[in-house]
């Protein structure tokens, strides 16, 4: 019996029971029943029951016996939806990378940190060569060398003083204050010091002083930005800044701000995310300090132009005006930003930030 025959037979049973057959058809069907006791028994069973309910029962039974088929389909649906979930979460995750979470995103911070470290280390390797050869010599000679270097440094300072009279006055005075400063610039410098310490201690204080003092004065910031646009010049500056000490009499601030520009990447605060987070932690003021009750979150976006200007501030999700203003203020007053770099050229880009006001 094939599938088709079954349905024909079912239809015959229906018609027989509902008395919709001609006498000839009835007879033919009864002959069939005489030959097929299974059919005869079934029809006998049906004829004693309510025929309207029987066929709904049969449909029900068919559904249930063909259920495995449905289960299979369900499994496919489940598999498809799981796949969809994975894909969408991946997309979501990628989208979230554009929104730069400042608080509690240690992963990104670590990345930034690593990047910074490698840069610093790279740039330090050149001066490292000198001391290695020096170290093998007797102690006395080392001191002599150091003296020489110190003299050299002093010369550098005087050179600087001669060349940049405008900077001169500010460049040396903040040097004493340097260690106390807790701004983003300082934080980065401390790291630089740590890695540099291994190589040659006498080098460090002087270039550092020049670097950060100029940076703190902030007078060269614009100049630095302008230079950033020209990547060739930029590379030159970096080599000068970190590599050969003698040329440190050029603008030291450039060396501290600009290395990031070489590498393609998103817009980021000068000095790195870690320092920026530190800056936010110390500087972010909760407006209603009278009754701080709970954590308050403000999400905002702003544009970093290709020259690193901060503009078009926008509150995405704010609390009230005072919170919103403080959020904008802290970014405006904060460190300069490096523009997004694509294929080694700076781009205009939107930065989204989440600021958390701790109670």
């Amino acid at each position: 019996m094939s599938g088709k025959q079954t349905y024909q037979q079912e239809e015959q049973i229906r018609r027989y029971l509902q008395d919709r057959m001609t006498e000839a058809e009835r007879h033919a069907f009864e002959r069939e029943m005489q030959r097929d006791p299974f059919l005869a028994d079934a029809v006998e069973g049906f004829s004693d029951a309510d025929s309207s309910l029987i066929f709904t029962d049969i449909a029900d039974l068919r559904n249930r016996t063909e259920k495995p088929k449905k289960n299979r389909k369900f499994i496919w649906y489940a598999a498809a939806s799981v796949l969809l979930l994975i894909v969408s979460s991946v997309i979501l995750f990628n989208m979230q990378e554009n929104v730069i979470p400042i608080v509690s995103e240690s992963k990104i911070q670590e990345e930034v940190k690593i990047r910074e470290k490698t840069k610093v280390e790279k740039s330090v390797t050149t001066p490292q060569r000198q001391p290695i050869s020096v170290e093998t010599q007797p102690e006395k000679e080392i001191t002599i060398v150091e003296n020489e270097l110190v003299i050299e440094d002093l010369e550098m300072e005087s050179n600087l003083a001669d060349e940049n009279k405008a900077i001169n006055s500010t460049s040396l005075i903040p040097a004493e204050e340097e260690p106390k400063q807790t701004t983003y610039q300082a934080a980065k410098k401390v790291e630089f010091v740590k890695t540099a310490k291994n190589t040659h201690e006498s080098f460090i204080p002087n270039p550092m002083v020049i670097d950060s003092s100029v940076a703190a004065s902030g007078k060269l910031e614009k100049k630095a930005d302008a230079m950033a646009l020209d990547s060739e010049k930029l590379e030159e500056v970096v080599v000068v800044g970190y590599g050969i000490q003698k040329k440190l009499n050029l603008t030291g601030a450039v060396s501290s701000v600009k290395p990031e520009l070489i590498v393609d990447g998103k817009a980021s605060p000068a000095g790195g995310w870690e320092a920026f987070n530190e800056y936010l932690k110390t500087e972010l003021q909760t407006p209603d300090s009278g009754s701080p009750t709970e954590k308050t979150m403000v999400r905002l976006s702003f544009v970093i132009s290709s020259t690193g200007e901060k503009e078009q501030f926008e509150i995405l999700k704010g609390k009230n005006d005072r919170y919103n203003e403080e959020a904008i203020r802290i970014i405006k007053d904060g460190p300069a930003w490096n523009p997004e770099i694509k294929r080694k050229t700076p781009q205009r880009s939107v930065v989204k930030l989440k600021l958390v006001f701790e109670p």
Partner: protein, 195 residues
């Protein structure tokens, strides 16, 4: 997948069983059973006389198939299913003490039911029963009512209902007269062949 199910419409029971045994695919089993679910359900209704109970039985028989098909080498699935389903209903009846009486009635007719369904009666197989002398001779020897019913049904191609109208007998009586008439004919024919 859709192509497969389309083709399986035309497959024989044997092919489906083979396929099921090979891949243990419940979908194939469902296809096979759907061909007979009407008959099984009707059969259960006949013996269990209760819709819900019959539905449950039909489902249980389906589940039974999943294991039994592997265990037996089945030549004719339909008659095997017929016997299996009937045995299942018998077991169900046995479980119910209140239905003991029906069970006894059922057992009385056991020999008749256990007849191999594939072994068809001569009268159901030959083309022109009227022209068979041996058969005609035996029909003449049947009792009057059996004779009349067999003639009306097989020679005049009347339906049960028409016979009922013509003879004034109950339809169930007509069926049993036909059944008993056929049995007597069979005995008669076998005796003649022996001679």
């Amino acid at each position: 997948m859709f192509l497969k199910s389309k083709n399986s419409e035309d497959l024989s029971d044997q092919d489906l069983i083979f396929r099921y045994k090979e891949k243990n695919d419940p979908e194939v089993l469902g296809q096979l059973y759907s061909r007979y679910v009407v008959l099984v359900y009707g059969l259960c209704l006949k013996y269990l006389e209760d819709r819900e109970h019959s539905k449950d039985a039909a489902m249980q028989i389906f589940e039974l198939l999943a294991t039994e098909l592997h265990r037996h080498d089945i030549g004719n699935f339909k008659s095997w299913l017929y016997v299996t389903s009937k045995n299942f209903c018998l077991m169900e009846l046995r479980k119910q003490k209140s239905l003991r009486k029906k069970e006894e009635m059922w057992l009385m007719n056991q020999d008749e039911f256990m007849e191999n369904p594939q072994e068809l009666h001569l009268i159901d197989t030959i083309q022109n029963p009227e022209s068979d002398d041996l058969l005609n001779g035996c029909i003449e020897k049947l009792k009057k009512e059996q004779n009349r019913c067999v003639r009306l049904f097989y020679f005049e191609n009347k339906s049960y209902r028409q016979i009922t109208d013509e003879t004034g007998l109950d339809e169930k009586k007509v069926k049993s007269l036909l059944q008993n008439g056929k049995r007597n004919l069979k005995i008669c024919l076998e005796n003649k062949h022996v001679r």
